[in-house]
């Protein structure tokens, strides 16, 4: 078993550039390269299995997960999410009125680039925009209700491949690039980037956790974590990831986080939604 600190030391010492002169600014090509990196790194893992995170990489953990999936502990949150989703707003409208197809089976299309605002709109943001447009107070992005709602919406999209598009708009490309930069930039006292853990060391143990591969990592969101004893949103995961490397987390749904979600979802295009997921 390799240990991260060793990997990190190597990282710190090898700061020389190793830039290929290939297709910068070509997200489609980058997504292909991203995928083939993981496929090569884990030749025995089926492409669609990457969405199961550490369970795709560790047999002992997979058995525990499969046992729990027989009657998953997130069942209650999922039910709560459905109840919340169908609940009528004070003005008589519903979440269903804010989304195509009544919000059912559409999770795989988020985040989206909104041409009007020129910004990335995640599902969490869209849910709160829906609430506010209907006179309801916004939910906490890291709270249980948002987690339950997105769990239910993900559940109705299970098996549907991520279908994220970058429209022909320089602002959309800039958002993707910004998300990519955030993904690879090292931060926090530990000097880890998202990629340090989820590109270079997936399958390795960091403390007790087996690190999930970045490919497909958002397909499983939101996730029920045993550590949390509950369901948590993508926002919550980003915030805790930052904290774990001793970086002060940004505001949930800040531009960087939304762009990061855009990038990570885009490079997992074609892989099925598996959320809500369960993780240690």
């Amino acid at each position: 078993m390799r240990y991260l600190p060793a990997a990190l030391t190597v990282l710190i010492l090898s700061t020389a550039h190793a830039v290929g002169a290939d297709e910068r600014g070509n997200p489609a090509a980058e997504a292909r390269a991203f995928r083939s990196y993981f496929v090569k790194k884990f030749p025995n893992v089926k492409l669609e299995d990457f969405v199961n995170g550490p369970y795709a990489l560790n047999q002992d953990m997979r058995r525990q997960w499969e046992e729990k999936e027989q009657f998953p502990p997130y069942e209650f949150s999922l039910e709560a999410g459905k109840e919340l989703f169908v609940k009528t707003f004070a003005n008589g409208k519903h979440y269903a009125d804010c989304f195509p197809n009544g919000g059912i089976g559409i999770r795989q299309t988020y985040p989206q680039f909104d041409k009007k605002s020129g910004k990335v709109v995640t599902l969490e943001l869209a849910l709160n925009q829906c609430r506010e447009a209907n006179g309801e107070a916004a939910l906490s992005y890291t709270g249980d209700e948002m987690a339950a709602l997105t769990a239910y919406m993900a559940f109705t999209s299970r098996g549907k491949p991520f279908d994220i598009s970058i429209p022909d708009d320089p602002r959309a490309l800039a958002a993707y690039e910004n998300g990519k930069r955030y993904f690879y930039a090292r931060r926090g006292q530990l000097n880890f980037s998202c990629a340090t853990c989820h590109v270079q060391n997936p399958g390795e143990r960091l403390r007790a956790e087996v690190l999930a591969p970045a490919l497909g990592i958002l397909n499983a969101m939101p996730i029920y974590r045993s550590e949390w004893g509950g369901m948590g949103t993508i926002s919550r995961r980003f915030v805790t990831c930052n904290g774990q490397v001793r970086a002060v987390p940004l505001e949930p749904q800040s531009e960087e986080y939304r762009d990061l979600e855009y990038f990570l979802s885009y490079v997992s295009n074609g892989l099925p939604i598996s959320g809500p997921g369960a993780r240690p």
Binding site: Q70, F71, P73, E75, F76, E79, G229
Partner: protein, 103 residues
């Protein structure tokens, strides 16, 4: 309010397999909250299953059963449509019961 108890009871090959998931904190009394105070123990102590009025399974639980506890067992007999009555009581005297039909 929705029941705290979820049951899947399936009759097959002359036996009935029962899986149960219960929404309950199962606080052990050994965990501290954000303020550093111990969260008092709060856990299910007894869980019973009756098939057509006959006790088929009795669980006595301590604080080491996981949050939102799960248990699976099987008994001989049981037919589709039979009633299975499930109930629990915790250390604070709270209870819940539900009756489901075997599938």
């Amino acid at each position: 309010m929705a029941s705290s108890i979820r049951i899947r009871a399936i009759a097959r090959d002359g036996r009935t397999e029962v899986q149960t998931l219960i929404q309950h904190p199962m606080d052990s009394g050994f965990i501290k909250n954000d303020k550093g105070e111990f969260i008092p123990a709060h856990y299910i102590r007894e869980l019973t299953f009756e098939h057509n009025g006959r006790l088929v399974f009795l669980a006595d639980w301590g604080t080491a059963v996981s949050k939102d506890p799960y248990v699976k067992f099987a008994f001989q007999g049981g037919n589709k449509g039979d009633e299975l009555k499930v109930g629990w009581i915790d250390n604070k005297g709270e209870t819940d019961t539900t009756t489901v039909k075997i599938q």
